[in-house]
């Protein structure tokens, strides 16, 4: 809902480090990461995550599997973060609708915005898919945030805490190429 276009413009010249994202993920109490690769986050985030102690990585074949896995874990008071590309999020909309929104479960997703131009807000992207994904989430009432540079990483922990505290899904878009 609150796509942070202002933040995106303000920090357009900055960089995004996967290390900072990983630290924020761990500080959020995440233990499990169901994942499919995304080229924006492949080298700077996903590969380092596999080497990171204290996290259980789960390769899934399709993104909506991850929604179900996160749901099951949430009943066990285990926090999870589903890592995927925005195309996979679009493919998982029905699962997010049913399990996240209608059941009120804390489905937390970190989503790479393939083809989003650096420093350009998703809503202004030339990519049709990048432009529409935020409005689709708005229509569903799903909170979302954009992480473009290191300055935006601070949104991760409160967003995840809020999802688990109040029982709702949240999408954390990764709008820049994460560096190792």
């Amino acid at each position: 809902m609150q796509e942070q276009a202002g933040t995106t413009r303000r920090s357009a010249a900055g960089v995004l480090h996967g290390r900072k994202i990983i630290d924020a993920i761990k500080a959020s109490g995440i233990e499990f990461i169901p994942c499919l690769p995304d080229i924006h986050t492949s080298e700077g985030l996903l590969r380092p995550l596999w080497r990171e102690p204290g996290l259980r990585m789960i390769r899934v074949c399709k993104e909506d599997e991850g929604v179900g896995i996160c749901a099951g874990l949430s009943y066990c008071d285990k926090r999870a973060l589903l890592l995927m590309q925005y195309t996979g999020l679009l493919d998982s909309i029905n699962a997010v609708r049913a399990v996240g929104v209608e059941y009120g479960l804390p489905i937390c997703m970190m989503v790479g915005l393939l083809n989003k131009e650096p420093g350009v807000a998703p809503a202004q992207s030339k990519s049709y898919g990048v432009r529409i994904v935020g409005p689709i989430l708005d229509a569903m009432g799903v909170a979302h945030h954009v992480i473009e540079t290191d300055a935006d990483v601070g949104v991760i922990r409160p967003a995840i805490d809020d999802a688990y505290g109040h029982g709702h899904p949240v999408v954390l878009f990764v709008g820049g190429n994460a560096l190792p």
Binding site: F32, R56, I58, R59, V60, C61, K62, D64, E65, G66, V67, G68, I69, C70, A71, G72, L73, S74, Y75, C76, D77, K78, A80, N94, A95, R97, A98, V99, E102, Y103, G104
Partner: protein, 190 residues
Amino acid sequence: MTMQRDQALRVLARHVTDDIVVAVYTTAFDWIAIRSGPLNYIATGAMGLGSSHALGLALGRPDKRVLALDGDGSLLMNLGTLVTIAEVAPMNLIHFVFENGTYEANGSHRTPARNHVDFSALAVAAGYRSCHTFDDLVTFANEIGSVLGEPGPVFITMKVEPGASPKFDYEHMHSARVREEFKAALASLA
């Protein structure tokens, strides 16, 4: 040869103690009529995801056995789950598919798999630790006790036809009360 689903579930119920049971759609309605209780997880939301919810529960509660009572129509919507579960290889997950060749909850139209897809063979190929197929109630009753003792992930194809028609109470299935009772029961499990 096939079994009546409700009869097979009655046999299975004799072996269920404090297991977590994830059941989908028509099988779920049959199951909760036979064995009600708060450890039944029937709110899987989107069709096909039952076994994925079960995997999450199996990972979150490795101290408890998780039984997934899937349907063939549901599994067909999420066949990749076989590969994912096999890779994660939770020792405490038993994955049943109740195969009747139809999308029973949606009008009993036939699936594209009917009569020519071997679900247990798919699970073997995906890498489940052990796989079984039952089409006879007596054999199932004789063997299920020992099958449930095998280390998971175990896959079991149940060749069934509908038995007595269950009550389709979707309001109950999707109610917040069911989910809250499940969460409380799970938290209280030693």
